[in-house]
């Protein structure tokens, strides 16, 4: 009931805007409150951050591949951090740390959720805009400030934070322990607080929009899986991100005000620190209470996007729509009680290790269900390989490959020997890194026409996909074996250990694959930015999709739809329905217009509708009989 009144006010708002305000450059492109523009802002900032983070990874990959070669060009750009053309050990750690932070938080959380939740929630549920456009704008600008502050740490004397992206104290708390724990870490913490604020504002907005502003007929069980994924992701974020802030605040206190939340019994050199009674393990509990849901915050939107893309391009309904939603809900709930699997070997009570192992392996069940449902969706499909579809298939492949190694790491006993080795690096770069970024790219290719009103080049998309897909496997697959040989992660060089020498050639190979994979992104960047201006004009519904966003005009207007918001009559996955003329039936088509393709379960037990359908079918049969006679 409140839904309707909300719509009305929004209707008025948008008309008022058009009537009285002239949009300036500032209000349209910079401090925009339009969800579509904010989505684009998130996306482009995310892409820029991704390029930066990828550049950082290439830098440290170069160090790993050629630990004793000098690259004068590095000194030109990095100055004393790469004196003599070789990256220094503390800067190496800074690179690793900032690469991880940017990728996890700025690219795969803000870049992914921020972009597609903003773009698709109002468009796919049929709303004029977000519940609070102003909060939405703030959310972007907090995120932007967080990015700027994080990057600014590259321009200070002591360098960026370098205690790893998980910034475990005491290393992160003591500037004497590592240079990056000076001002660099302070900036990291400030940046993270702003980021969490941004993510909360976004999340609250997404949840309230999904709950309150769905158009007529759009009940929860008619929402596309993308919306379900964004919705549950937002809930996860709202519940877990504040815990990180709590942790961060305590760390700020320890660092700046002499408290001892995480510090105890520490001697730096021969200097005995006064802190007593704290525990470094506490940080790990707080961090991973966010940190583990965080990896689902990263992967769930990607899964939602790929569900939609796979269904559209297979021209088939997603297999097991309800199971997909229940498994998302299952993942959401379980993700809160598995954080301890990051801490099996911290020395916490072994009893906890056992408990967390059980919950962790349970979460594999809904993940397995999702995978099998994707495969069943492809079965007997009519698959159109758009670039988006290629990336979605790539996601499924990565999700399987990376997910399966999770069974090793989630098992506390096996984790003893795999913890903090390259096996972990390989595992999460496949299941969370590559899979999520492929989901994001699938989303970009799929909804680009909706965002910019133009098409991207398919051929460049194919090139981009194949190079990236192959290179990602070439980079991450061999790393498993380094881990199985006991090579720990975050090692500056393998030169100090006899047994690691044999992996040097593998490192060279992996680095070359990473460089080629990195260069392949130029194909995407060119395609993306060139097509904004010169791409082919997009048709109304380029992929023949059912969801609501494709009924909105190609030209963006404030309020999304001219006139009334369309009403929804059916679920979003009526592809290739037998008896229908076309191989898709948009959500806005009522059942009365598709009598020939209606099925009994479409009516969800509505007796009146079933009676009408029955009458129509009897009539048809009678007609056919007379015709035959």
């Amino acid at each position: 009931m409140s839904t309707i009144s909300l719509h009305d006010t929004h209707n008025h708002d948008s008309h008022d805007d058009h009537g009285h305000h002239k949009e300036t450059f500032l209000s349209k492109y910079v401090f925009s409150m339009d969800h579509k523009m904010i989505a684009k802002q998130f996306l482009i900032t995310g892409i820029i951050m991704a390029v930066i983070a990828m550049g950082l990874s290439i830098l440290f990959r170069i160090q790993l591949a050629w630990p004793d070669k000098s690259f004068p060009i590095l000194e030109t750009f990095l100055g004393e951090w790469a004196e003599g053309g070789r990256i220094k050990p503390d800067f190496y750690l800074a690179l690793v740390t900032i690469h991880g932070t940017i990728m996890v938080f700025f690219v795969l959380t803000a870049g992914l959720s921020g972009t597609f939740s903003n773009l698709l929630i109002p468009l796919q549920i049929g709303a004029r805009d977000m519940a609070s456009p102003f909060l939405n704008m703030l959310s972007y600008w907090f995120f932007f400030s967080a990015c700027v502050i994080m990057m600014s740490s590259f321009f200070i004397q002591t360098g960026p934070a370098s205690a790893g992206w998980t910034i475990y104290p005491p290393l992160s708390a003591l500037p004497t322990a590592i240079k990056g724990s000076g001002l660099g870490m302070t900036l990291w913490l400030i940046s993270m607080v702003l980021f969490v604020a941004s993510s909360l504002m976004g999340g609250i907005n997404y949840v309230s929009t999904v709950l309150n502003m769905r158009t007529k007929g759009m009940d929860l069980w008619k929402m596309p899986l993308t919306i379900w994924a964004f919705f549950l992701t937002a809930i996860l974020g709202i519940l877990s991100f504040p815990v990180l802030v709590a942790g961060v605040v305590l760390l700020v206190f320890d660092r700046s005000f002499g408290t001892s939340f995480y510090l105890s019994d520490i001697v730096m050199g021969t200097q005995v620190l006064p802190n007593e009674g704290g525990s470094p393990i506490l940080w790990q509990h707080l961090f991973w209470f966010l940190g583990h849901p965080e990896v689902y915050i990263v992967i769930m939107p990607a899964l939602g996007i790929s569900s939609e893309v796979i269904s559209v391009n297979s021209r088939k309904p997603i297999f097991g729509y309800h199971a997909m939603i229940y498994s998302l809900i299952g993942i959401t709930i379980l993700s809160f009680i598995v954080w301890g699997h990051h801490m099996f070997v911290t020395g916490m009570n072994p009893l906890l290790g056992g408990v967390f192992m059980i919950t962790t392996l349970i979460i594999a069940v809904p993940s397995a269900v999702k995978t099998f449902n994707y495969l069943a969706t492809l079965w007997r499909g009519n698959i159109k390989f758009t670039p988006a579809m290629l990336f979605a298939i790539g996601l499924v492949s990565f999700f399987i490959s990376g997910g399966l190694t999770g069974l090793f790491l989630g098992n506390a006993s096996l984790d003893i020997n795999l913890h903090d080795t390259y096996f972990v690096v390989a595992h999460f770069h496949l299941v969370m890194g590559s899979a999520a970024i492929f989901g994001m790219l699938a989303g970009v290719y799929h909804w680009y026409p909706k965002m910019f009103g133009r098409m991207m080049s398919n051929k460049l998309g194919y090139l981009h996909f194949w190079l990236t897909f192959i290179c990602a496997y070439l980079v991450f697959f061999p790393l498993h074996f380094l881990g199985l040989d006991g090579v720990p992660r975050r090692y500056y060089a393998f030169t100090e250990f006899e047994f690691m020498q044999k992996w040097l050639t593998v490192n060279v190979f992996v680095t070359w694959a990473a460089i080629i994979g990195g260069l392949a992104q130029v194909a995407f960047l060119w395609n993306f930015f060139y097509s904004i201006f010169k791409g082919k004009k997009a048709p109304q519904n380029p992929w023949g999709a059912n969801t609501l966003e494709w009924t909105a005009p190609v030209e963006h207007i404030h309020g999304n739809w001219p006139g009334e918001i369309p009403t929804v009559y059916r679920w979003p996955y009526d592809y290739s329905k037998p008896g229908a003329e076309q191989d898709f039936i948009p959500q806005t088509i009522p059942f009365s217009e598709t009598m020939s393709s209606n099925m009994p379960h479409d009516f969800e037990g509505n007796a009146e509708a079933e009676r009408i359908q029955k009458e129509w079918e009897d009539q048809r049969d009678a007609d056919e009989k007379t015709k035959l006679d």
Partner: protein, 417 residues
């Protein structure tokens, strides 16, 4: 008509581009040929390959090449379209086929990885609990490999077989409860088995019942940036107390010598352990988090400042045996740091030697105590009163065989206690 015009313009442009590219390359080739002919000495390209600009140019050239190929494809497709012929390139078929090729090449790649890189991994576990871990690892590996291969075959085969042809309609198949139940229950069952095995193994590793006849050797490990310190319990079998507040440059571990148990604690530069004897590691850290990691023994536990953690294990293969098993005369066990701890993280290591009980006893007798004259002064102890023969052995290891054997005896009796 305008379309025609457009095409012809584009065609001409593309052809021109291709033409120039060809002309250029051939010109370059000719020039190079001429250069080779005149100057017999090959030009040293070494410095050129080291410059960044070389790679930038090479990349730009590659981009140009891709652009030309792209244009050529476009021209081809547009001419087909203009001539009302069926579409030039069926990209669905191309991508479907590429997936099939990727599957086959990928499967071979996986096989290659398993056999080549798979041979380079750690040798068999050299500890009792490690064998259980290895068994479980192998079981998990078999299960996951089967699922990995099967699902990928299905995924890419579906991509190949069900590619869009325009001739058929997809099969409307929204759900099948029986099927969904099957693939919920089967993974759940398999996972239950794995959870149970993992849980039991985990408990057997961390909940050890002490055998009074086979008491473990206590060894304390202290990590700091970026070194490991090893402290053996000495003849009394107990590692003495320590207190971080006592740490000075002389007393680097902050050992509290008021505790009698600390008096005979031995300092060691490497970890030497007798084979088949339980070892209880006492793990502590002086400054930041480190992780004590002995890959060959499947032992890892973080060292945490302010918290002591314990890991008990039994080595089962001596260094010499492992040298023979791995066919590597240079093989050494070691332990290293696996938790990021600062700029020297990549260097933290210590050698581990697993030897026979006899060799161990001999080695142990040669180790000196932590307590020395400087520390005695500090703790107001009489400097002259040497409490045990151990320091004598340390100061003069080759003095007399008699001193050595007595030392060994005392240590042995201490261990048997």
């Amino acid at each position: 008509m305008s379309l025609r015009k457009f095409i012809s313009n584009k065609t001409i442009a593309a052809l021109a581009v291709i033409g120039t590219a060809f002309a250029n390359t051939s010109a370059f080739a000719q020039a190079a040929g001429a250069a080779a002919a005149t100057a017999e000495k090959p030009v040293d390209m070494g410095p050129v390959y080291k410059t960044a600009i070389f790679y930038v140019m090479a990349f730009l050239l590659l981009c140009l090449f891709i652009a030309i190929v792209g244009k050529a494809l476009k021209v081809y497709e547009l001419t087909r379209e203009a001539q009302d012929k069926p579409k030039g390139i069926n990209w669905n078929a191309v991508n479907g086929t590429l997936f099939a090729i990727f599957l086959i090449v990928g499967l071979y790649g996986v096989y290659w990885e398993y056999t080549v890189h798979g041979k380079m991994i750690l040798p068999e576990a050299a500890s009792e609990h490690g064998k259980k871990i290895d068994q479980m690892f192998n079981l998990t590996l078999i299960i996951t490999t089967i699922v990995f291969i099967a699902t990928h075959i299905i995924l890419f085969a579906f991509a190949y077989f069900y590619k869009h042809t325009g001739k058929r309609k997809a099969y409307y198949y929204p759900h099948n409860n029986a099927l969904e139940r099957i693939w919920t229950i089967i993974p759940a069952l398999v996972l239950t088995v794995m959870v149970l095995m993992g849980f039991l193994t985990w408990r057997s590793i961390f909940y050890k019942i002490e055998d009074p006849n086979n008491k473990p050797i206590s060894i304390e490990i202290t990590s700091s940036q970026f070194a490991w310190a090893i402290r053996y319990s000495g003849p009394d079998g107990v590692v003495g107390l320590k207190n971080y507040k006592l740490i000075t440059s002389e007393n680097a571990l902050g050992i509290d010598f008021k505790d009698k148990n600390a008096m005979d604690d031995l300092v060691a530069d490497e970890m030497v352990l007798p084979v088949n004897k339980p070892v209880r590691l006492i793990l502590t850290s002086k400054d930041v988090l480190h992780s004590f990691y002995m890959p060959h023994f499947r032992v890892q536990l973080n060292t945490v400042p302010g918290m002591t953690s314990y890991f008990e294990f039994t080595p089962t293969i001596t260094t010499e045996e492992m040298k023979a098993k791995t066919n590597d005369p240079k093989f050494e066990y070691l332990f290293l740091c696996a938790k990021i701890c600062g700029e020297g993280h990549y260097k933290m290591q210590k050698k581990v030697r697993i030897v026979s009980q006899k060799e161990y006893d001999a080695w142990l007798a040669e180790q000196g105590t932590y307590l020395n004259d400087d520390l005695r002064k500090q703790f107001n102890m009489p400097v002259t009163a040497a409490p045990a023969p151990a320091p004598a052995a340390a100061t003069a290891p080759a003095d007399s065989t008699a001193a050595d054997s007595t030392a060994v005896q005392t240590t042995q009796t201490a261990l048997k206690k």
